[in-house]
Symmetry: C2
Subunit: 132 residues, 2 copies
């Protein structure tokens, strides 16, 4: 049953929920949403989330403790992520910008540390919110 798409039952349920959502979802929001499907306790949610993040299917928005589905197709291991976040409506949008990604992936720390991963979060007010 598992190998079809390499997601386990709980992982698939939780991924589907996040993937359908237009906004970032929090762990306990997810928990309440999937209780009817038999997922009843926090560890079940967090374990699935951990795995999905690990494989790049979803990303964690660190400043919000919330999760979004990857929209970028080329971030298989969540090693180069960038997001735009509206401080008014909480909308989050994954930024897929090759130049930005290359610039940051090639960035070298003065102190000689070699980076293997980065996460960038931009904040502002989105177009839609500016109109209101």
């Amino acid at each position: 049953m598992y190998k079809e798409n390499n997601l386990s039952k709980n992982q698939q349920i939780i991924f589907d929920l996040i993937n359908k959502s237009s906004e970032p979802l929090k762990a306990y929001t997810i928990l309440f949403s999937v209780q009817k499907k038999g997922i009843k306790a926090p560890p079940q949610v967090y374990r699935a989330l951990d795995k999905l993040v690990e494989t790049g299917k979803i990303h964690k928005i660190e400043s919000k403790n919330a999760f979004v589905a990857c929209r970028s197709s080329d971030c298989e291991i969540s090693k180069a992520t960038a997001f735009s976040i509206c401080e008014s409506c909480e909308m989050v949008d994954e930024i897929s910008d090759t130049k930005l990604s290359k610039y940051l992936s090639g960035f070298n720390h003065k102190k000689g540390m070699k980076f293997k991963r980065f996460n960038l979060e931009f904040f502002g007010i989105c177009k839609k919110c500016k109109k209101d």
Copy 2:
């Protein structure tokens, strides 16, 4: 008493602690450390932290829920922050790189959103840990 350096008593106590620390400090670690100075409850700590972040005296490392003193002198309101984080020893270092900062401050989202703030976290293994 307050206006001398524009930090209140609790803010100063907590800033001093973070500023002396060589590693990021978590809110409850801070709480335990300052109980002898009369700060006894979480809200006292979080309020001081909020204010210190707001004024750019400290920054929050979002991926660690921990706080470091600003080492950059020119980030008065924490609006353009970048850090290097060692995944082995947990060391955090603020990156002050004018080019990087300018590049990101000038970055324009394809969808027309104007950014007023960003936070960037790089992850890797620091030099010291590589030797071990």
